[in-house]
């Protein structure tokens, strides 16, 4: 099994505990910002030394918990810092962007990284629709067209035009093209069965984050079914699962750390002094899940489908991951160690990564990969 490291690159300034989303730019301390970026790079180096198979970033906006609203920039710097590491951006909030520009970013980045790139395309979490003002009700349709357009940008050898339902470009000519031909491996998020089905149909990798095993199982089944209909068979290596993970010397020590630090969620990244904002985010979430426009959903009835983080001493966590892997049929586990702002310190993260490198990572590498 492959083991990947996801790093949100937490901001380490004194506003880390401020409960108000979106955060005010005036609170940003540039000295601490520089330090946060450096610590993020050091954590990636530690993960690379620990034997992780890929160093992963994601796009999130207006957040003290993530310093990577433009992860491709960070990835370019990371590629210089760790010249032999695989790098993945999982992923881009595609409906927020011009798909042609996204294809250009990744083509360029793959050249900068000398072909070490994987990337993900996803619809993004509800808060992201508030940041740039994106219609959430048409998100799925726009997303699916945009994915097809991005892939088409990589695969059309001559300049072409796209007369889409949501996108119109009369001239597209991707130059530079990516190093990996026709394009780097693409992961599509599959947190719902319908998203997973689309990933299968598109012959892309499947990425699932933080969901419970039951929810993941439904997605994986839908993915395999759609892939079969499209005439191909995914292996475990096509399936990635992201979950929080913290390993300490012993179960007791790990439990103590996460309880003391309120890891991984901290004070809640989207808490706001504006009492009306959570309802907006909730309605956007419902829209993304398919609720029609004009319907105010009862969020208290929404299912909570989050899985438990992997926490404990090395042996315990190894058992937890193996149980998940077996249940899900995954070949790639992506571990999010850092948690939200104000939880684990840089030293905690690096120590945990080192410990994983001595125990977890070699053990998982040695595991036979489940055959799909």
């Amino acid at each position: 099994m492959k083991v990947e490291f996801f790093n949100p690159v937490v901001y380490r300034g004194s506003t880390a505990g401020v409960v108000d989303w979106p955060p005010a730019a005036r609170l940003f301390e540039s000295e601490r910002g520089i330090e946060s970026i450096q610590q993020g790079l050091e954590q990636f180096e530690a993960a690379h030394e620990a034997g992780f198979d890929s160093l992963n970033l994601a796009e999130h906006h207006y957040s003290v918990s993530q310093m990577t609203p433009t992860p491709h920039l960070f990835a370019a710097a990371l590629g210089e810092r760790v010249p032999d590491a695989q790098i993945a951006i999982l992923g881009t909030d595609l409906p927020l962007h011009n798909p042609v520009a996204v294809a250009e970013q990744y083509a360029t980045l793959d050249n900068v990284l000398g072909g070490r790139l994987r990337f993900g395309l996803l619809r993004g979490t509800p808060n992201e629709y508030v940041t740039y003002g994106t219609n959430p009700w048409e998100s799925r349709e726009r997303f699916e067209e945009a994915v097809e357009l991005v892939i088409r940008c990589f695969t059309e050898p001559e300049p072409f035009g796209w007369e889409g339902r949501y996108y119109r470009y009369r001239t597209i000519a991707l130059f530079p093209a990516p190093v990996q031909q026709p394009h780097p491996r693409i992961t599509l998020s599959g947190n719902s069965p319908s998203s997973a089905r689309f990933a299968g149909r598109m012959r892309c990798d499947l990425g699932i984050s933080f969901r419970s095993s039951e929810a993941v199982a439904a997605s994986v089944a839908a993915y395999r079914e759609a892939a079969a209909e499209a005439g191909w068979e995914p292996t475990a290596d096509n399936i990635l699962y992201r979950q929080f993970c913290y390993v300490a010397e012993s179960d007791a020590e790990a439990r103590r750390d996460v309880e003391q630090l309120n890891w991984p969620v901290g004070s809640g990244p989207f808490a706001s002094r504006n009492a009306e904002l959570p309802a907006v985010i909730g309605r956007v979430g419902a829209a993304l899940a398919g609720a029609p426009q004009g319907v105010a959903p009862d969020m208290s009835k929404a299912p909570r489908q989050f899985g438990a983080p992997f926490v404990g001493g090395p042996d315990t966590v190894l058992d937890q991951i193996r149980a998940s892997a077996e249940q899900i049929g995954l070949g790639r586990v992506e571990l999010a160690v850092t948690g939200a702002a104000g939880t684990l310190s840089h030293e905690h993260v690096v120590r945990s990564l080192k410990l994983m490198g001595e125990t977890l990572v070699p053990a998982l590498h040695a595991d036979p990969v489940a055959v799909g």
Partner: protein, 279 residues
């Protein structure tokens, strides 16, 4: 939205109520009866120190909602020597609106009217569906001295697109002379950063939209940040290529922003218009 051909305010009908010894004029308009009942709560509008001002923006807002412009006591024929503070004038306005028969309403105030609207929100938060502060004068840090300004400079302070109709017309000097002592009491005598006002903002939970023209030459737009920083339920929006008279510089944009906020509240952060080009 398209602009309206007739003169701004042509569709408004005048009414009067008596409050605190003043005969207060108000002007109201709404969607034609053929369209049916107006949607949502009515919008009460308070003008700036220059007095009652009709605009294309307010005409556009009145297409879908009852809009009531209130001429504040002291801005008509009678001099206002009664109201000593923004709190007192705001209370009088609250009584005016009550006398007009409105129990719950959106309140929009421009410039000095923004300050009065804010004070009304402090006193009667339960009556307001939401509050819109358009270039409010509650904080005036960085304002330029009014003296020694050329006519061109005056236009620049109010209008970023003076070529757009209606043309800018300076306030009536006779009215300004009548109003000046009142404006002095309520606004000009207050410090540019009014700490007493700032101290009251965190307690005001009324849903509030603060909008400024990005080229406002009367109240510098950076004053909008103070409301955003201190009010818990506040959005701060900059309207591009507009000066102090946003209603005249960008009427269509103004009406769209305000009506989106009034109709949809915080859902206005998320567009609901489809971007489908062709099915």
């Amino acid at each position: 939205m398209t602009t309206i051909e007739q003169a701004p305010g042509a569709g408004f009908v005048e009414g009067r109520v008596e409050i605190d010894g003043f005969t207060v004029r108000y002007h109201q308009a709404g969607p034609p009866a053929s369209i049916g009942e107006p949607a949502g709560d009515p919008l009460v509008v308070l003008h700036g120190a220059g007095g009652l001002h009709f605009s294309i923006a307010l005409d556009l807002l009145a297409r879908t909602r009852r809009v009531v412009l209130v001429e504040m006591p002291g801005f008509g024929e009678q001099v206002n020597e009664v109201h000593r503070s923004s709190d007192e004038l705001a209370e009088a306005i609250a009584q005016v609106v009550e006398a007009i028969g409105l129990e719950r309403y959106h309140l929009l105030g421009h410039s000095l009217g923004g300050t009065i609207a804010l004070h009304l929100a402090f006193a009667h938060p339960d009556r307001l569906a939401s509050l819109v502060l358009d270039g409010p004068a509650g904080f005036r840090e960085g304002e330029s001295a009014p003296a020694a300004t050329s006519p061109q400079e005056v236009v620049r302070r109010f209008r970023a697109q003076p070529e757009r109709a209606p043309a800018f017309s300076p306030p009536d000097p006779a009215l300004m002379a009548r109003v000046m002592p009142l404006a002095q009491r309520l606004m000009i005598s207050r410090p540019a950063f009014d700490q007493e006002l700032a101290d009251r903002l965190p307690q005001c939970a009324v849903r509030t939209l603060v909008l400024f023209g990005d080229r406002d030459g009367v109240v510098p737009p950076q004053n909008g940040r103070t409301y955003r920083r201190l009010m818990p339920n506040c959005s701060f929006q900059l309207v591009h290529r507009a000066a102090h008279s946003v209603q005249d510089d960008r009427p269509e944009a103004y009406a769209e922003l305000v009506s989106d906020f009034l109709e949809r509240g915080w859902m206005f952060l998320v567009p609901e218009q489809s971007t489908l080009i062709n099915p």
